[in-house]
Subunit: 163 residues, 2 copies
């Protein structure tokens, strides 16, 4: 049915935008959009969308969208939503460190452009990068701490700047 497709999109939109802590909290926003369903339907929808309830850092729970899957998966997001996956983060997903290496995970397709920016920055802390489709490997200069690297990278990755 047409209604369902629309509803799933709206649910994704809401989950992506606001902090929703339980399914009934989702009912009102949907009603505001003219969508009237029951909690049971939401439970089924969230399952289908692979939306998970995760403990956040403030001791509460919030629903979050799944990380996008590559070709293997059966989840297909609409192109429209796909284009702005996480507004403002420019594809950035996570950063982690191991000695003189940094690994940045991005949404599929974003690794190249982010790595390009980092490479062109000519930061002395960063020797170079290697990028795949959704992963960037960054090699740090000798003696650079993770904090220094983080600061240097934040110049090229807006999502790393502390709010």
């Amino acid at each position: 049915m047409k209604l369902k497709k629309k509803r799933l999109e709206v649910i994704r939109e809401i989950i992506n935008t606001r902090k929703i802590g339980c399914q009934v909290e989702l009912l009102q926003p949907l009603l505001d959009m003219g969508i009237d369903v029951t909690q049971a339907t939401l439970s089924r929808d969230l399952k289908q969308l692979k939306i998970a309830k995760v403990p956040d850092s403030t001791g509460r729970y919030i629903y979050t969208l799944p990380k996008e899957e590559g070709m293997g998966g059966n989840v297909r997001y609409t192109p429209a939503l796909d284009r702005h996956p996480i507004v403002g983060l420019g594809g950035f997903l996570s950063i982690s460190f191991s000695y003189n290496l940094v690994v940045i995970k991005t949404s599929p397709g974003y690794a190249g452009s982010i790595a390009y920016d980092i490479d062109n920055g000519n930061s002395k802390e960063i020797l170079g990068t290697v990028a795949g489709d959704d992963t960037i490997l960054i090699i740090l200069a000798e003696g650079i701490s993770h904090e220094e690297a983080y600061t240097a990278l934040s110049k090229y990755v807006p999502a790393l700047r502390t709010q």
Copy 2:
């Protein structure tokens, strides 16, 4: 308490290893390890560990560990189930280690799919991978031994299983 620290580790281990669909399913494995607690405690533990219950692609729910991150970043979860398997024995050629790096050689064209599975495994030992056509570079987390890495990788590369 010392008990709790231990328990949290064991819980992580179990969640990482088996498919647990609800909290009571976790009680028995813990009991087998000599840990006797109630569901209420598990609820609190899972919250603290930021372990989420995620819908997988087979229509069931699975608890999964959060993706390890460095400092910044938003938390996203990999939909469960692409976790294990696939990857026919074909493709794998060799594995070698150098400090916090692993290089896996594959037949031409296989590197990407094997790396894909490794990436989606969310192993805490593995920060990420970069794949070419027949070579995969894997970055290990700090403090991970080659043995631990081997074990972690064997979950995704059947050829590594000793059996």
